[in-house]
């Protein structure tokens, strides 16, 4: 029993709209082509830009494939959802946009609906390794992502129990297991 957050539901719709259903379709090339984003690899710092209606990303060449993919996910959020130029933006608003984009990246690079279809190993290090290699992200990123998943699980279990307690039903039926 897993409750999708609004972001997770959006992500499922969004990726299905781009006809992306499996982890091996989750690539920069795949998404840039469908959304008509120009991606340039160069030696300078990475950034995203919209100029004359054209969406562009400049991604640092020296990054590993995993880091490129994660940056792409982050910048994709800005390009799709945000407006403005960050150069003169108030610091707190900038931090907010960045936080949103980080979160977006976690969910676009490793979508919940795909995670739930996996048979994740029971032990955490193995699960992290499995997620990292399946979705082409770094172990740190995979670990943060699994934390999100766990929190969401624990949250929905808590919810269920609370509802039962409140409605005076003391017998809690364990119909939601672990990852498997």
């Amino acid at each position: 029993m897993y409750h999708y957050t609004p972001l997770e539901s959006y992500m499922r719709e969004f990726l299905l709209f781009l006809s992306i259903q499996t982890p091996n379709q989750l690539t920069i090339d795949h998404i840039m082509e469908r959304l008509n984003i120009h991606v340039h690899y160069w030696n300078d710092k990475s950034e995203a830009m919209i100029y004359k209606g054209k969406k562009r990303m400049f991604i640092n060449k020296q990054l590993s494939n995993e880091e490129r993919w994660q940056i792409f996910g982050h910048e994709l959020c800005h390009i799709m959802m945000h407006h403005g130029s960050q150069f003169n933006m108030p610091a707190s608003f900038l931090a907010y946009q960045e936080w949103k984009a980080d979160n977006f990246a976690l969910h676009v690079c490793v979508p919940t609906f795909m995670l739930l279809q996996m048979d994740l190993p029971f032990r955490k290090p193995q699960a992290i390794y499995e997620v990292a290699s399946t979705f082409g992200v770094t172990p740190q990123f995979a670990s943060r992502r699994l934390e999100h998943l766990e929190n969401q699980y624990i949250g929905s279990i808590f919810d269920q129990k609370l509802i039962r307690e409140m409605s005076g039903i003391s017998k809690v039926n364990e119909d939601y297991g672990d990852y498997t």
Binding site: W42, E47, R56, F58, I79, H83, G84, N88
Partner: protein, 115 residues
């Protein structure tokens, strides 16, 4: 005279204009312009290209990156690009200075133009 403020002052004096006159033209306060010229404030990209246009000098010369103050065709195109109000950018990591950012913009402009 190599600093941005110094060059702004030099360009203004070459035109034979007073600070007051320039402020009236641009609709900004005297203290703001004198702040720019004393390197006490840093003009943003839009202001920089407005000033360059007004004084008829190139941004590179103002920034002390070249001794050539002539404004060519490509210079004007580049200025139009960086001062476009519809230009939106998001940095993966923020530039340390306006100068670093301008260098980056130049490289981008080369890429965009060559398409």
């Amino acid at each position: 005279m190599g600093s941005l403020g110094g060059r702004l002052r030099q360009a203004r004096e070459n035109k034979g204009w007073s600070q007051t006159l320039v402020c009236e033209k641009l609709g900004i306060s005297n203290s703001r312009l004198s702040g720019y010229e004393r390197n006490y404030r840093e003009p943003d990209k839009k202001m920089l290209s407005t000033l360059a246009k007004l004084y008829g000098v190139s941004i590179d010369w103002l920034m002390g990156m070249t001794e050539e103050s002539e404004r060519g065709e490509s210079e004007r195109e580049f200025e139009a690009f960086i001062s476009d109000p519809d230009l939106q950018r998001w940095y993966a990591d923020l530039p340390k200075s306006s100068e670093e950012d301008l260098k980056k913009l130049r490289k981008m402009w080369e890429i965009i133009k060559s398409e």
